[in-house]
Assembly symmetry: C2
Homo-oligomer: 344 residues x 2
DNA sequence: CAACGTGGTGAGAGCGCTCCCATTCCGGGG
DNA sequence: CCCCGGAATGGGAGCGCTCTCACCACGTTG
């Protein structure tokens, strides 16, 4: 066990004391502590011993005052309502980001921001550079974060294409348009012709893009694409949207829900109304994050490579932080695929 | 909009420059920036104007080097597996903590720790005092965190009673034993006599305490309390445990699952086996975090005041951080209650 | 043998901030 | 008229660290 000896004041030991104990200068002690290039084995060993015996831990504030690095990264979530945390999308993102950061010894600072005035606070906070970079998830149209972050000069990567300034910041996204097309094609292929969709919030690019792909594919197939209800990516939202949709269009024989959570809500409503899935109504979801396998029937869905995207975004951020100078923004669009299960 | 003028180097403006621009000394500028007692209105205004025009943001590293405060708090989660994020318990906790911290202008640092060697790393990190305090959630028996954190002298509060050193750290918990009793009594009251329980992980106090209460109440009622299966607080875990339980004891007419997630798994198995709930088998859950209302049938459950606990824990921590000197540990045990729905 | 690296080292200068303390400038009381 | 106390201020030290630079003791070279 390390001794917990402290200075007279009870304060933590400083590098100065380590140096004294090791019989070297503060500079040499610093070099030794930081991986020690240009340090003799003798000095290295002496410092290591002193560190151990004093229980020395470098003061991060002092260190980052000089290095201008904090070894931490912010995950900015511009929407702290219930949705965020209960959505497996978010959970998986956070976990993946954390794993990558952990590999590099970085800490994760969670920045939840209420809508509206929140980006103001968030930006103010970030301008103080309390973190080395920021990862932005699930942001909405009106926050204008992308441009402002680009102005700040803080390394940052968006998870999901931002609405504006798409060429000024780096981002990673799945090919949402292709995903929307796949859903449409899957339903058409099964002979469905009276199709409807439950989309996500209109102010999120993911929702808008999936809808774009859906409409394009339907038009090409010569099928009407005007049966649309807006959900909010939650199961309850999907349920409400499905009720509305089926009331207006009782003859629907295929539904695309822009998230598996919403698809679960759709399945629930269909079950209540006594419609068989997929016989009477085929259903396609989006995400494939585990939930699609536990519904009844299991869900045919468009795979969303969330973990891969989060990891890629994090690595991009780390590269941006590590690299010198403001590299030009990078865009990565990941492919997606349809996963066939029972519902379509 | 603030001008984004910068120093020659492109660096952020310093207090020095603000002082110069305002025509005052650095000391006065500092006082003015920090709420300004003992500063003349004239100087105050001049500094405010300079801050605005230069777009000055204090450097947090430099500030905390002097003040020894970081204005951030760690939430330590000693179990970063899927379970944590998908559990509504955790989501709600994180949200509540964040809300309270936000009110006080503090940031939330998420500290996920793998089991095993992880507490070592976590403790090392915390010893550098990169945060003003720590909130520990959902910890397990073998991590010995409580004592070690107490040794560190870092302000901290445990959410849920720790296994060891319960008198050396502050903690908040719900009256788990009473909750276990309530579940037992509810089932007995409905005339059930062949009772079984699906508990949580054996190395978590919440699970152990609920089981203790359950057993005590059953013994008092003269009912056998030896039908126990161990789950892991997840739906899948509850499902597996229920299968095992019903295979061993097909005559069971009442089940207590130590979480609603596990109760959902139990309901699923019962439905598959064609047992009616509550007619054939009554079921009681634990948590009541929203999920209990969406099962079929809806779940009678023991209410877990998670949000209130998280808020209380956070406020306790803030008091501990604000107060001078090492106050004696505080323990808070919150009452719980049974919420009657359809399943019992 | 003089000139030249070259790895190892320490002195010292800050990083940007807060805070202690001495100084100044008041008005009011002796 | 002088002295004293309090409010406002500035000078300067120092938080704990990193990093540049000069320096020294060695070989290695021409």
């Amino acid at each position: 066990m390390t001794t917990t000896e402290r200075r007279p004041g009870g304060a933590a030991p400083t590098l100065e004391e380590v140096a004294r104990a090791a019989g070297v200068s503060r500079a040499t002690a610093s070099r030794a502590v930081n991986g020690g290039s240009r340090v003799s084995p003798r000095a290295q060993a002496a410092v290591a011993a002193a560190v151990r015996s004093l229980g020395y831990i470098p003061n991060p504030a002092a260190r980052s005052l000089m290095t201008r690095r904090t070894d931490s990264v912010a995950v900015v979530v511009p929407e702290p309502d219930e949705r965020v945390f209960s959505d497996p999308f978010f959970s998986l993102t956070l976990r993946s980001v954390h794993r990558v950061l952990d590999e590099h010894g970085l800490q994760l600072v969670l920045l939840l921001a209420r809508r509206g005035t929140a980006s103001e606070q968030t930006l103010r906070y970030l301008s103080g550079r309390p973190v080395d970079g920021a990862l932005i998830t699930s942001h909405h149209r009106d926050d204008g974060l992308a441009g402002r972050l680009a102005d700040l000069g803080l390394p940052c990567v968006f998870g999901g294409r931002p609405w504006d300034d798409t060429d000024r910041v780096s981002w990673v996204d799945v090919d949402q348009v292709a995903g929307g097309r796949m859903a449409a094609e899957a339903l058409v292929e099964r002979g469905r012709r009276v199709l409807a969709t439950v989309t996500g919030p209109e102010d999120m690019t993911a929702a808008a893009d999936r809808l774009t792909g859906w409409r394009a594919a339907l038009q090409e197939a010569g099928v009407a694409s005007d049966r649309v209800a807006v959900g909010d990516f939650t199961e309850a939202g999907g349920e409400a949207a499905a009720r509305e949709l089926l009331a207006r269009h009782p003859d629907v024989d295929g539904v695309f829900a822009a998230s598996d959570l919403m698809a679960a809500g759709v399945l629930k409503v269909l079950a209540e109304l006594g419609r068989r899935v997929p016989e009477d109504v085929a259903v396609v979801g989006f995400d494939d994050l585990g939930g699609a396998e536990t519904t009844t029937p299991t869900l045919t869905t468009v795979h969303n490579p969330v973990a891969a995207m989060a990891e890629e975004a994090t690595r991009m951020l780390l590269r941006q932080i590590g690299g010198e100078g403001p590299a030009s923004p990078v865009r990565v669009v990941m492919p997606t695929r349809l996963v066939r299960r029972e519902s379509c």
